[in-house]
């Protein structure tokens, strides 16, 4: 059986936890596209899922050797989405972590924060433009504009998405700051 779920995540760790929770209940994620996750039924806890933000686009020449390396270690690249990559590994093969020391975990959290903050600013800029459109449409109801309802919707969407992304970016930033302090006394 196949199940499709539409869900928006801003925080990759929450997304990862959700995918693993689905796997615990026998739903294995097979693909992701535009917020739609496709699951197929399987034995519960068959796979462990991990999500990573790559330094470059997943399809680029720079990422290919790394993804191939991952597959060589028994992991499967389930889906990629720009720079995001979804992996899974059979749970019976033991631990599955991408980053296992403080240094590399700091690197990944930093990458996530550096990626998310600009996306957040972009969302808010788009929201601002839609907000201006909305007021222009109200002030001049007979002019040629994007419909006010349309602008309002995208204004709200951009604003809320921006907040979600900001909070996710902030969380990654706090995580790497915490780990950087930790690194003073241990690896």
């Amino acid at each position: 059986m196949v199940k499709r779920v539409f869900k928006l995540f801003f925080d990759f760790e929450k997304e990862e936890a959700w995918l693993n929770d689905m796997a615990r209940h026998g739903w294995m994620m097979d693909s992701f596209f535009l917020g739609v996750y496709q699951f197929s039924e399987g034995p519960p806890e068959e796979y462990v899922y991990r999500i990573e933000l790559l330094p470059q686009a997943a399809a680029s020449a720079g990422s290919r050797p790394y993804l191939r390396f991952l597959e060589e270690t028994g992991a499967e690249v389930v889906s990629t989405w720009f720079r995001w990559a979804y992996y899974r590994k059979k749970a019976c093969d033991g631990d599955f972590e991408i980053y296992t020391d403080i240094g590399s975990r700091i690197g990944h959290y930093k990458r996530v924060a550096c990626f998310m903050y600009p996306v957040c600013v972009l969302e808010w800029c788009m929201a601002l433009i839609q907000g201006i459109n909305f007021f222009m449409a109200l002030a001049d109801p007979y002019g040629v504009h994007v419909p006010a309802g349309f602008s309002l919707f995208f204004f709200m969407f951009g604003l809320l998405a921006g907040i979600g992304i900001f909070r996710a970016a902030r969380r990654s930033q706090l995580q790497y700051r915490r780990l950087e302090r930790e690194k003073i006394i241990q690896e």
Partner: protein, 127 residues
């Protein structure tokens, strides 16, 4: 300037990776060897290992040792070997100091229990 500023202590992962590359291995081979050598205590993540390998290649501490495009083999170089030797000597010194100090507290010797020691935290494993 203390030595550690010129050539820092290696991380546990780096030390174990260099050690396992005393024999030519591919990435997955390093992962397995490190896991076996530490009896499953250290399981290197693919991201951590890949990052370390590319850094060690840049530093010239390891080099490609054949293999095909899909499974590249790596091996430690002469500078890598001297880094390993330096680190082993450093750890030796550290261990000697640690053993001596702990023996002095009566915590870590065969006859002494943990009860009468002044610093119980020293015997605790991990964090």
């Amino acid at each position: 300037m203390p030595e550690s500023f010129e050539r820092g202590a290696l991380t546990e992962a780096t030390y174990l990776i260099l050690l396992s590359l005393c024999e030519a291995r591919h990435g997955y081979g390093v992962m397995q060897h490190v896991s076996d050598a530490t009896r499953g205590r250290v399981n290197l993540g693919a991201g951590t290992l890949y990052g370390a390998i590319s850094l060690l290649l840049d530093k010239g501490w390891i080099e490609a040792a054949g293999g095909d495009e899909r499974k590249k083999l790596y091996r430690v170089t002469r500078p890598g070997m001297s880094a390993l030797e330096g680190e082993t000597a450093r750890l030796d010194e550290l261990l000697a100091i640690g053993r001596e100090t702990l023996a002095g507290t009566g915590l870590n010797n065969e006859s002494g229990g943990r009860s009468n020691g002044p610093c119980p935290a020293a015997g605790r494993a991990g964090y």
